[in-house]
Each structure stands twice: as C-alpha cells, then as structure tokens.
Symmetry: C3
Subunit: 423 residues, 3 copies
Amino acid sequence: MLRPEENERITRIGPGTPAGELFRRYWQPAGLSAELPEPDCPPIRVRLLGEDLVAFRATDGSVGLVDAFCPHRRAPLFFGRNEECGLRCVYHGWKFDTSGNCVDMPSEPPDSLFKTKVKVTAYPTFEAGDLIWAYMGPAELMPPRPDFEWMRAPRTHRILSKTFEDANYLQGLEGGLDTSHSSFAHNERLGDRNWIRNRDGAPRLDVERTDYGYSYVSTRDVGEDGLYVRVYHYAMPAQQMRGSVTSLMGGRSEVPKLDGHIWVPIDDEQTYVYNWACSYSSNDPISPEYAEDWESQNGRGVNDLVPGTLKLKKTRANDYLIDRERQKTKTFTGIVGINTQDFALQEGMGRIADRSLEHLGTSDKAIIATRQLLLEAVDAVAKGEKPRGIDPATYRTIRPYDDYVPKDGNWREQFADELVAKW
Amino acid sequence: MLRPEENERITRIGPGTPAGELFRRYWQPAGLSAELPEPDCPPIRVRLLGEDLVAFRATDGSVGLVDAFCPHRRAPLFFGRNEECGLRCVYHGWKFDTSGNCVDMPSEPPDSLFKTKVKVTAYPTFEAGDLIWAYMGPAELMPPRPDFEWMRAPRTHRILSKTFEDANYLQGLEGGLDTSHSSFAHNERLGDRNWIRNRDGAPRLDVERTDYGYSYVSTRDVGEDGLYVRVYHYAMPAQQMRGSVTSLMGGRSEVPKLDGHIWVPIDDEQTYVYNWACSYSSNDPISPEYAEDWESQNGRGVNDLVPGTLKLKKTRANDYLIDRERQKTKTFTGIVGINTQDFALQEGMGRIADRSLEHLGTSDKAIIATRQLLLEAVDAVAKGEKPRGIDPATYRTIRPYDDYVPKDGNWREQFADELVAKW
Amino acid sequence: MLRPEENERITRIGPGTPAGELFRRYWQPAGLSAELPEPDCPPIRVRLLGEDLVAFRATDGSVGLVDAFCPHRRAPLFFGRNEECGLRCVYHGWKFDTSGNCVDMPSEPPDSLFKTKVKVTAYPTFEAGDLIWAYMGPAELMPPRPDFEWMRAPRTHRILSKTFEDANYLQGLEGGLDTSHSSFAHNERLGDRNWIRNRDGAPRLDVERTDYGYSYVSTRDVGEDGLYVRVYHYAMPAQQMRGSVTSLMGGRSEVPKLDGHIWVPIDDEQTYVYNWACSYSSNDPISPEYAEDWESQNGRGVNDLVPGTLKLKKTRANDYLIDRERQKTKTFTGIVGINTQDFALQEGMGRIADRSLEHLGTSDKAIIATRQLLLEAVDAVAKGEKPRGIDPATYRTIRPYDDYVPKDGNWREQFADELVAKW
C-alpha cells in the first residue's frame, strides 16, 4: 500500500507536479508515425501529460508538436492549414514552423516586427521505431534519444500498436509488471494441466535494481517440466519488457519473440498503451496475418476497436461483454481478449486506484519495487538529480527472455547469452 | 423551509455523515431477492448509502454483500467468479466467503499465513419479504430484523417492485408523505366530481408521533359522501404506508390493499424506490394480471422500463413525455403514470432540492414533522442514543387504512379494528 | 491579453458577479416571440444569465418569465399548466400570474391568507422586433426599452434567428467585432483576387468611443478599387452591427442590408446568439427564399440544426465536419457555413478562453476597446453609476455601413447620410 500522498505523488503527471516533472525528463511516445501518414497531411490532436497539443507533419516530413491554441487569440490550431513547412491558424492566418516560430502574420501590416516576438510552444520531436517521440522537459536537460532493442528490429520482424486505456497509467504499468495475475486473469484453459501457468499460481519473484529501473525474474515450479523462468525488465518511467520465446504448452513459441508495453499518460486519468513485439531473431519474421492474429488475441484487432478510434468496443460501460457461462466453464474471467482482461481489472479499479487500501503480498514484490523507484526518481528530479533510465546506454543491450530450466539448473548461466540484445 | 445546513444534515447519507450514521442504524433493502435468482449465479453491483458493493448468492443460498474492490490490489470484485461458497477475484484468485474471510489465496505460497490476516468488508444480510436486507452499521448496535406487516403477507397477496429515481431520497419520501398533491399531480379526471379528490384539495392533516415515526391522518370534506379519511404511517427512516382499501370513486377498491414505498439512498443524488402492496385480507389475492396492471398504472410496468434496467424510459431528459394537449383536456400533468408524475416533480427539483427557498403551508404539516423527526434522530444517533423505529416491536402490528366517515363520525372509533395488522 | 482576474471579471455573468450585475442593467433577449406562439401555449425553459427560468404566454398574450421552481416546495414550473392568465404548478395547484403573484392556492383552506404572502420571482418582459426582452436588474434602475433600428424595420424587410453556442459570450462578441478574421476564417475563395478581402488581410482599424459603446471603421486597401471601408457599431453590452450593403465582389449586394448579432449569456459557458439583418431601405424587401438562403450560408439553415433544437449539427464533437481536401483547395477552413466557422474557432478556444496567454496586435484594436469598455462598465455599475448604452437615445439613430471609397476620399463625408437610421 501507499499513503494517499505517495499515491498522488506518483500518479499525477500534469505540468508542475512531481511525477509530471519526472515524466518530462524522458522522451515520450506522442503517437504512431502512421497517424501522420504524409507531409502536409491533416494535423492531429495530441493530449500528452495533461497538455493539449497539435501534431503536424510538415512539408519536409518532420513533425511539429505545438500548443493546441494559437498564441494570438487562442484559436484552436487543430483546424489549422498544414501548409508549406508550417501550420497556419485559420482565425487570422498566423503561421508557425515546427520549432514554434511565427513565420507569417498576414493580419498585421507587412512591415510589422510583431511576428518576430511571438512564438507558439513547440516540443522537440523525432521519429524512430515507427513512433513519434517528444521531449517536453527543460531544453538544457534534454537527454539522448531512446534506443530500445525493439526499435532497431526491422519492420518485418516487429508489431506495434496503440490502445486507449481509461485509467491512470500506473494501473496499467503495475499490471504489466505483475506476473502472478497471468495464472488467473489470463487463464484461458481452466483446469488444463498442460498449460504450465496452471501448475503454479504463486511464482517466486526476484527483483534486481538496474541503472534503467529493474530486472525481475519469476520462477514457477512446473512439476515434471522443471522450472519456468521468465525475465522481465522495467525501463523507467513506464515500460515493461518480457520474454515470449517459450510456449506455455511446452517447447518454443510458434513465433518466438520479446514483447512489452509503454504506458503514456494522456492525463491523470487516461493513458495510451503502446504495444510492441519483435521476433527473437531474424529467422522469425512476423507475417501480417500473425500480427493481426496476435492483436486479436490481445483484444485489440480491427474488429475489437470502435472504428476510427483507438478505443476498445468492450468498456466499463458494457462490462467488457463478460460471458458468465464462459467464465464458469472455460476461462477464468469470461472476458475475451488478453489485454481486455487487463483493462477490465485496471479500469475497474477506478480512474486512479486508492492504493492506501491495499494488502500486498509476496507476489507483489515487483509492484512494490516499481513504486519505490518512482518515488525515489520523483525525489531525485525535485533535487535536480538525474533519474534512472534517461541514458540509453543503460538499456541499449538489454533483452528479456523466458524458458524452462531444470530444477537444479541455474537460469543465469543458462540464459546468459539470451539476455543480450540481438538487433 | 430548512436552513441550508439542516438540509445538508438530513440529505447527505455517505459514510461518516450525520444522516449516513442514522441510516446505518437500520437494516436497509439492498436489492430484490430475485436479482440473485439462484446459488452461484452472477454477482451484481450494489451501490448503497454511497458505498460501492458487490452482492452474490453463495452455494448455500446465503447472500454476501462485500466491498466492490478486492482488498489485495483493488481489482473490481464484480468480475469475480462466484464459486463453491465464495467470490473469487479474477485478478489473482483470492477468494472470500460471505462473511468477508479470505478462504483461498493461490497467488501466495501454500504455507503462507497472509490469508488469515486479510478480510474484505462484508455487511450482514438476510432475506425476508422477497428483499435482501443489509446492515451497514456498527456490529454491536445491530438491531433485530425488520418485520413489517406486508413482509408477512403471502406472495399470492403481495406486489413488490423496485425503481430507480434520479434524485435524493428525501424528495421521494416527502412526496410519499404528502397527501395534498394527489388531488393535483395525480388528477387523472379533470373536473370529474365523482372522483372524490376533486372535491377537496386542501385536506386537514393530523400528525401523531409514534415510536416508529408518526401516524398521520388526512381528512377531506367530500360533500354528500361525508369525509374521506386516510391513515398513513411514516416508519423511520424512509418508509411510507397508506391505506388503499377504499375506491376514490366511492365504495371499496377492486382489490382492497395497503401499500407504500421505501426510499433507499443509492448515494446523495440517486435512490432506489421499493414499491410494495399487500391485500387487505386473505379474501383478496392479487393476480399477476392485476399486479402488472397496477405497476403499469404507476408507470413502472414492463413497457415503462428501459429493458434490462430499473430505470424509467420517461426521464428528465425527455420531459417525461409530457403531452400538453392531454394536460389541457384530461389530466392535471399530461404525464402518464402515477409515479412517473411523482418522478417528474421530485427529480425536477434538482438532485438535492434547495429547501431554504421554500414556503410551507398547512398542507405541509406531515413534511415538517418528517424533517423534525429526521433532525432529532440524527442528533440522537450523534449522542449515542437509539433512534425511533429500530425495534420492530414499535411497528409490527401497525396498518394504514382509508374509508369514508360520516361528517359527525369519529374515524378513530370507526377504524379501530382496521388499524391493526392482519397478516 | 487580460490578467486572469480581469478575464474572470468580464466573462462571469451569474447573479452577484460584477459582469452579472452589468448585464442585469440592460434589457436582454430572453427568446424569440415565436417560441411562445400563442396565448396559453406550453411554457418553455429559459436559462438566462445563469438563472433557470420558465417563460409562458398568458391568456392576454403577455409573457411571464418566472423562477423555474415553485416557491412552495420547489417543484419544476416547466410542467405547469398554462391556464387563464397564470401558470399553475402541477404539484399542489398553486397558480402565479405574469407578475409573480400567487393568484390561487387550492391546497390551503379557502380562507387562508397565505397566498397573499407568497410570490414567485418574476422578471418584467415586453416584446419588440419579434423578440421577448427581459429585465433582470433592480426595479428602481429599470431602463427604457431598447430601440435599435433593426427592431423598427417591418418583418418583410428583416431576418431574425437564434443559435446556440457552446462557449462564453465574450468569445462570440469578440469574433463579431473582429474584422480581420473575415479575410481568413471566412475566405471561401482561396486565391481569387476579385474577392476584395483577399487583397488586404491587415485592415486599418479606427475605434471611436460613443455613448452606447463604440463605432469602429476598418479600411482595406483594395488596389484598383480604392479603399473598402466598413463601419461597425458595438452597442453595449454585447451587440455588434455591421454594414453589408456592398458586395465583396464589387458593386452593391444583391440585397443591401445591415446586420449583426446579440450574444446573450445562457450562463458562463453557453450563449444564445441572436442573428438579425434588415434591408438597407424599403426598396429592398427580403424574400423568405433569400432569408433561408442567408441562414444556410451562415450555417444555420433548417438542415444545419438538430431538429427541434437551436443547436448546430456541426459541433466540437464532430470537428464541425471539417473537410481537409476542401481546406487545401477551396476555402481557408474547409468548414462549411460562415458562422459555423466562427463557432469552430470560438468554441474551440475552450468554454472560457484563457486571455492571459494571448498576444494581441494592431488588428485587435477593437477587441481591446471592447474589453476596456466592459471593465469600465463593470466598475461603473459597482460604483452605482450608469453604464453606457442603457438609454436608447444613445443609439436610436445609428446605422452601420460599408462601401468603396477613393484612396484620396473621405469616408466620413461620403458616408455621412448613410450612417443615420432610415427605419
């Protein structure tokens, strides 16, 4: 549990809040590159860390990310004209480049110098891994660009998607860093002893702090198959990585891969989840059919989303279409879609969970470590220090993994080569 | 009128509020027994006195009423599995019995004692009169179970329903204890002198305090038919009972009965109304056809409700489908449905009426008495005293009644036998 | 820009606020006369300056404007019966005349004097120019009735409509007093040099304070056609008038006219816009076809409104159906409907624009003058002084105008006769 003030401290991310300052020290995903498909295409609304912004792809292909409101009279720039290297407000024609400079001000006399004095707030961006990344912190503290292994995998070996979650980011992040629940919430095979998560719902957790956050290992005693050991990484402030190389029915996965999520706060009560996966090696390309199937299994396939949005059709308002008969006989939750199950639980806690009422057990070691790291990082930033995981050197070569290990085996030795990035 | 602080004092019923404490000294209806139709059926959400709860019927038929959130990590128990005498959270499999004990904790090591230290908030329940009753107050002050006459009538002689009202409970209760408005709001026979309420819209009220609240009598001068006298009871904190034995067109009703409502706060701004009726005697069974017709007349028949809910189709948002032509020519309000007329007026006051702006007349004597009793009871509870009506002995034998009385008659003598419970 | 407290001071118009007091010194449009089409027709809800009211047309044709809640027990008077010169509450039959007197109280004994002691709040009204006007200020300060020229034009020469706007009134008013944006936001002819607004987007503004507010003149250098000079009036607190006599393609308009808007606060965050136009002279009647075409061009024709409401189908929620292809190739905004373009920009600023973040230029002279006048008037009222424009004598004979003027011409001389009311 957290004290109420601690809970506030790490869940509120608006401008000027402690965690808001922390999140503003990292590059954050502001959207999929595909959301701005070509130069001079329509701008999009971006709400990020509680700030209303507009993103546009300029004529040269670069992405501008500016205040949603024109600095002149606060007209909405979303309706702006994306013209010749700049976004032009349709109220009085003021035009801004991707750096926020006012490059034309046709409502003022031609000889006016006023335009040299006006800027619109603009945040630096770059693109990598099919994402638009933005930095919203102090210019002098801008860190190097993120460089996670999955960003380097070729598109033929990668899956990337984005989903809306109607809750604070921390509920998502904690779910992602909680291995134990997968034996319950994600149990699609009630009573099937072949599914190894059915054999041990109380995995042993070992958490090890690192320069980027922590690495943690869950160990399940799966009887005649020995131990099932899964290595996760928590890259601060809000990314999870896990191995999905091994099949939970025994042997290797059809497409061995690494996967994870980044939870990006829209504001205190809403989140975008970026879902990534990349194959284990160049021998395992990811076909579009497999990718769509994977997204569907997770409950975010094309038929799972409200058309034209990133929102699930299954929501709090329709009880995620829980099927009580299915719950009695086939799956633990009766809810279809792996991440839909997560959303039902995470969104069901309320928009910001009241952690002061919790009772944490040994299965919550990773959760506890996450909170400690966040609280420490918030304090560090407040003191002018550098938080963990800002420097890509700390995580560039890491990789998660999972496999079976003999009961008397040593996973560290067995996994040693596997835990190093191959892309 | 009430001073604003008095109004707050008796309308706010959340945990820790003065009226919240008062309401928590009584058993409260938490739902219809029929909402949990069989052992191990799906749980239901219950919001009661501002608290979010989940009710489930266990394998042995008993009803559990527990906190809506798992004490582990606050996952929503509504999605829980209702299994072998307990509700199991689908996040990590923790299972709770109807008393709130944690009876299984599969995410922790088998030898862990942690489960003996964890409880979920659980309120005592029992069933009677086709209702689930719950007690949400201090264990040491738990009163005997309610025992109203209508609860004892056989199902063949009883009607029971539940309706959602989008306003504070007190607006409903005050409407129920206000006889005068029935000459106006419920006038379905504009100008028809045969309808005796048309003959006297200013009934004389006599209120008499009792150990359970009060009894009050309204007397209408109905000309050649003498006096029409109706006896009501107010059973604290929020039940009304009235006689409906006599036809308002003269003679006895087709099905002579007693009826009433209990208003149960969902929270400060929403209410469930439990509508009950029981026949006057065993000679007058209530057929299903009559019951459905009665519900329809009151505006809560099957066709009046949004399917799958307890909410009226007619709402504030659609002006209760008021028909202005009907209002001009046939009925006083132009709104169809007796209790729909009440809802239009009560919900139309705003979610919590501002009683500081009222102007009360002699027709409001019962309203004034209700408020005084509530204010006194709130004070009594605050002082550790026992409020009225907690002990069923105070109301077990009461019964309301109504009939014509000669102008020189004495209703007390005439009604003496009728005012005693027969069931 | 305004300091945040100044912004609050002139945007908040509820009872007791500084600008609320200012607005309450003027007669305000409370609705279209057509909304109450005949004596004893159904009452309508009116929310005006943050107060919930009900308007009804009595048997004698006069209009009552009373508190939305009955003074007895706060039942909603909207459901009231509009009877024989009074509105009767359907809860207990209390009846009020248009002056707010209780003229019948049938729930009290016939000899009761209580009804002489009860009044419902009632605001004086009168009708002129097809509008219902209401005065909500102190009785002793009630000013003479408004008398704008357009109100005197015959119905055959006039257009009047009413539209809902989902933003604070000041965003609308400032848009109406901003000539520069019409070269951009309302540019329906991208790149067409014949359209004279394309020739000069930076008009020179001259603002002249008057007893009713100000008159302002915008001058555009339109090359070979000389100067295009347009005279506007700002009549306090929230009316704009402008000349539309001259065609923007050269020559006279098809139907030369004067037009304008009055912005009437529903509350702090919502506004009714009254749109009026009257022809320049009796030689130019306005046909119903022209009127409907005009309304359509402005985006408020019959097909533009949600049926049965005064709300546009195009809203913030559907991005005003912006057509990005149209925006690239044909019109500046890609939004269809002149006033829809205004709404997209004004509503898009948020319900109350944050003026502390603005950067105003020389094109904003009129905006700045508006705010100064409002701030001064708010102060004047606070000091017990009379604000500008309360007396119709100050504006009875004014008229706006627009025309081409030679570069060496003098618009004052050229327009002298035109700036005097003809109706």
